[in-house]
Amino acid sequence: MRISVQEDDFDVGLEIDALCKKQTRIGAVTSFVGLVRDDFEAPIIGLELEHYAEMTQKALTNIGKEALHRFDIFDLTIIHRFGYLALGERIVLVVTVGSHRSQSFQACEFIMDYLKTQAPFWKKEKTSRGNIWVEANKKDDTAFDKWNLGKVKE
């Protein structure tokens, strides 16, 4: 399990390759990348990502462990950036590897849903109309809650 909280960008291809090279039973690799995206309401120049430095590594590690426990996957990588990120830049990467696709897809989405409500990061958007703290999205709570309705291990 590789967990990294960092200012620097990451290389998606290299991260995926590094995780896959560890063993030959891996048949399915799911990855998710989150980007700083443009909004329709206020054009975004970039965003400042604040985090609770003493807690983020610990929170992401807990989420990773929970994913390894719940799903039939071999390994995973979570990288989350902080600091100033311009429009289009990568924010987060999650990679999950396993024998079969269904479990690797589920584990990847689970990690993102957990991270969205459980990892202490806050986005402040820099827009042409000023700087705005991003409001939490109710959809994220719903997405998080669905994983607690039942365990998904096959």
Binding site: Y52, M55, A59, M112, P120, W122, K124, W133, V134, A136
Partner: protein
């Protein structure tokens, strides 16, 4: 003694990132919020209104009813928006 940290909007509005609080009998996260709200103005506006304020105790997500103890690091912050 409690170490209290503030993040994001709360850090900006309160104008501090952390402080140490001692000599006050506080049993839960809710007690701490209520005690801070008595400082008035932005404190009561942020902590005693219907705004959602999350908490962590010693770097673990916590809820209002969770107990706090001498030496704990308590963080207060808006709902997270990473990812």
């Amino acid at each position: 003694m409690l170490k209290v940290l503030y993040f994001a909007r709360l850090r900006e509005i309160f104008g501090i990132a952390s402080e140490e609080i001692s000599g006050v009998p506080l049993e839960t996260v809710a007690d701490l919020k209520e005690w801070l709200a008595h400082r008035g103005e932005v404190w009561s506006c942020e902590l005693a209104s219907d705004k959602v304020v999350r908490a962590a105790i010693n770097q673990e997500m916590a809820t209002d009813v969770d107990k706090i103890h001498d030496g704990d690091e308590i963080a207060l912050f808006p709902p997270v928006t990473g990812g």
